[in-house]
Amino acid sequence: MSNSFPSPFEIEGPEGAEGWEELYPYSSSFSNYRKDYEDNRFWFWDSMHWGKALTPWDATFMEAALAALSQMNSRHYRIPPADGVDFRILYGYAFLSPVGVDPSQIEARVPQFMERAGHYFGNWDSLYDSWLDKVKTTIAEIESIDFNPLPEMEELEVITSGSAIGSGGKLMSEYNRFRDLIMHAWQYHFEFLNLGYAAYLDFFGFCKEAFPSIPDLGIAKMVAGVEVDLFRPNEELKVLAQKAIDLGIARSFDDPNNVSLDGDAGAQWQAAWDEAKDPWFNFTSGNGFYHFDKIWVENPDIPYTFIKDYIERIEAGEDISRPIEAIREERDRVVGEYRDLLGSDEDREAFDGKLGLARVVFPYVENHNFYIEHWTMSVVWRKLKELGATLAKDGLLANADDLLFIRRDEVHEVLWDYYANWAVNAPTASAAHWAPIVERRRAIHAKLDAWKAPKALGAPPEVITEPFTIMLWGITSESVNNWLGSDEGSENELTGMAASPGSVEGIARIIYEPDEVNDLEQGEILVAPITAPSWAPVFPKIQACVTDIGGMMSHAAIVCREYGVPAVTGTGFGTDKIKTGDRIRVDGSTGKVTIL
């Protein structure tokens, strides 16, 4: 077994992708400028969030997210042992590398961390309330951005008010505002998250010490919330399914691609839909990071398909409601049992304190995903597409989606061309300038997208200590060793995180794209690189779930526990080794997957 992954400088990309670096900022590429630094680090491909080759704009949000994450660790809260998570794009794929703090500096950061993080822990609830306000305001502001085509003539009001500021300049300002608001949203995303994970890890460590063999999911069960915003979209679908039955229009959903809502009943149902959709159907079929992710409000056939499924279940006499009381009772029982088993009152006091804090922080950990990845990003992509449409309409771009292949810094030049020649009332250069560039970039991107990135690069550290790497990505010293040894490992066995208990056998179906989710048949086992929360409606159908990447708190793990479906996450190679139609055994209690 090798003890190192290939150097990023040794990787050969796909043929025909030469010049791929121009799709991304130079600062995001591996290069000779910092070869020593880059070559001495461990980089893992974050296929959990960025499993597909990035377009320039997909890359923008990856970079915004990683910079915001890093900034909270390093500059805001001074997490004693952890600075940021460095990021690079190699042949279109996002590689991350946690940056530790020089051991001699850790001590000095402790009082800084205690003061700063202490403020957040001490005022969590009120800060979270204002967080919700901030995020909703930010979303509303993004919605309000005006990317309309420039007018033939300014409104008279511009004249009479003596403002003198015209629409062309305003459009450039709006674009700047758009970028600023995106940056804000991503900083909000990580405002609490790192601290939330720290509190969770503290409780986690305590439990592991008190109960040396406690499964991770035992700990997760004690902390997990019962009413979580992330489950709301799915719950709203169930309500709408019931409503369709009550109104006698259940058959209208038989063909989800052709739903006609006629008459009074149809109108009543439509009204219920309208009420639920904002915000709950600003829900993406992916993870919110890609331009191609489908958002429910814009693609009602997706939620209609789920509604059709629910209608069938209700009609078959199934109770599809979430047993909130039972879930709450089970959680209380688990907590009570562990608490009872502790050896002393002193331990019980610490247990209560740590669990209490973990529960205070956890609503944020669970809910931020809906507010940022789903809601905010739905609006962001919509706005970006609006801008593309405007530029195409006025002849700056050949196609609206050409904008996706123009980097965020390059867009300024397009807007300047638009503004200047709108002002002069003369021909623009952009369409001709960008057509060949965009064509080349599209071809490169297609090559990158067909290529399979390596799991990791460089030499792994002896130990992995960065809280995010462990919690969210599920990358531990074990899993890295697992990846290293996988070539020699058994062809028929995979090991991952025991994320949701139970053991079942069944037929596997590999799902790479959110669009394929509806291919899943009753009783199959879902095998995917990663799952998205919006796949929740298919979880009652499946017997088990296996993912390539993801930890105890990944979406697949949370949703599977919720539905009582066994899950093994972070297997590394599930979608490589397993083929659709294979009979497999998934043991979500031990983290083992066997191809039978």
Binding site: I79, P80, P81, A82, I106, V110, F113, M114, A117, G118, F121, A198, A199, L201, D202, F204, G205, F206, K208, E209, A210, F211, P212, S213, I214, P215, L217, G218, K221, V334, E337, Y338, D340, L341, L342, G343, S344, E346, D347, E349, A350, F351, G353, K354, L357, E462, V463, I464, T465, P467, I470, T476, S477, E478, P501, G502, S589, T590
Partner: protein
């Protein structure tokens, strides 16, 4: 013994009296029978250690096979017979404590006297009625029972040695029950028990004998359970050993049992090791326990299902909760009870290995949230797993 009964006086028979106690007699207690499911703490001196622990398990709503205790009040009645007392005292007086062979003969003579002496009618009627009631309860004409001696010796540190603990299994029918009850009574005078009391300077009358009558379990499989993980002392898990048939095979070590680890909080089977099981003890048609070779797939099949394991774990946890410390439990899956509701507990006693280790606190000192988070971040858990 109540005050109206003649005290059996063997006192002068001892060379020196190093220990003396008169058994406390509660005049209010007159019952010859105490049903396990009506057991109360106050019954303890009258039913002995073994019976009271079964009664206590019932009180804790643990599924103990049904049965009853014949109290020491009943036992005391046989000593109303002055002739019997005189004859036993004569034999005891004749003992030379250095002549072991002669002692065995004397012991046999005393036991024969006790086993042949007529039982007071009221006592015998009570025993027969209770057995009949047990048969009715189980829906079987002559239910097979275990007849167990359960010695009691208040103020003596170890009643189990001071009185012999005889057990008779698969006893069927009222006559056989009565006969074996007398054998249990007489087992107070085994040669070993006499010698032991002599050596310790205990009085013979310090010991009284209660007898337990309990429905036999004809198990599909049986085994033991520890309410902690024996490899690391983790109290959130239950270790379960299981094999086919009666528990003897597991307890005696004749088979390598299937071994499981069950999470008692999450109620999930965490680890399973299925071994090849060569022999089992079973009840044959004729009501005799036999050692049989296991053939076919059963040798390598798990001897319990996951549902069984969860049920065993839940019951073991209940015992642990009731007694307030980790337990070592004997259990069986009763053939004659419906699946899913067929786990019975035969015994529960304190676990000794981990329970004797000094307890270490997980929380070092008083809890300080920020300090705690800092130390978690600085020395993260997964360091240990590299």
């Amino acid at each position: 013994m109540c005050e109206s009964c003649p005290i059996v006086d063997w006192e002068h028979e001892l060379p020196t009296v190093r220990y003396f106690t008169a058994r406390k007699v509660d005049a209010a207690m007159t019952d010859h029978i105490v049903w396990f499911d009506r057991y109360e703490q106050a019954h303890k001196p009258f039913v002995g250690g073994k019976n009271s622990s079964l009664g206590e398990m019932m009180m804790a709503e643990l599924p103990v096979p049904p049965g009853f205790a014949i109290t020491t009040v009943a036992y005391d009645q046989i000593w109303r017979d002055a002739d019997l007392v005189a004859k036993v005292n004569d034999l005891l007086r004749s003992i030379d404590h250095d002549d072991f062979a002669a002692n065995r003969v004397t012991s046999q003579k005393i036991r024969a006297l006790i086993e042949q002496a007529p039982i007071p009618t009221d006592v015998e009627t009570d025993i027969r009625e209770a057995y009949a009631a047990l048969c009715t309860h189980c829906g079987v004409d002559d239910i097979a029972v275990a007849v167990r001696s359960s010695a009691t010796a208040e103020d003596l540190p170890d009643a189990s040695f001071a009185g012999q603990q005889d057990t008779f299994l698969w006893v069927v029918g009222a006559d056989a029950v009565v006969e074996n009850v007398r054998k249990c009574w007489s087992s107070i005078f085994t040669d070993r028990a006499i010698a032991y009391r002599h050596a310790q300077g205990y009085l013979h009358q310090a010991i009284a004998m209660s007898v337990g009558i309990q429905k036999m379990v004809d198990p599909i499989s049986s085994g033991v359970a520890f309410t902690l993980n024996p490899t690391n002392g983790d109290r959130s898990q239950v270790a379960i050993d299981a094999s086919w048939g009666l528990g003897e095979a597991v307890v005696s070590g004749e088979v390598t049992p299937d071994n499981f680890l069950v999470d008692k909080v999450l109620r999930e089977v965490i680890k399973r090791e299925i071994s090849e099981k060569g022999t089992e003890y079973c009840l044959t048609e004729s009501g005799v326990v036999e050692k049989l070779e296991i053939v076919g797939d059963r040798r390598t099949e798990p001897s319990v299902t996951d549902e069984d394991l969860t049920a065993i774990a839940i019951l073991a946890r209940r015992a642990e909760k009731h007694y307030g410390c980790p337990q070592d439990v004997e259990w069986a899956l009763d053939k004659h009870l419906p699946a899913g509701d067929n786990v019975v507990m035969l015994q529960s006693r304190p676990e000794t290995v981990w329970s004797q280790k000094p307890k270490t606190s997980v929380s070092s000192g008083s809890y300080d949230p920020m300090q705690s988070i800092v130390s978690t971040l600085v020395s993260p858990l997964h360091k240990k797993s590299s």
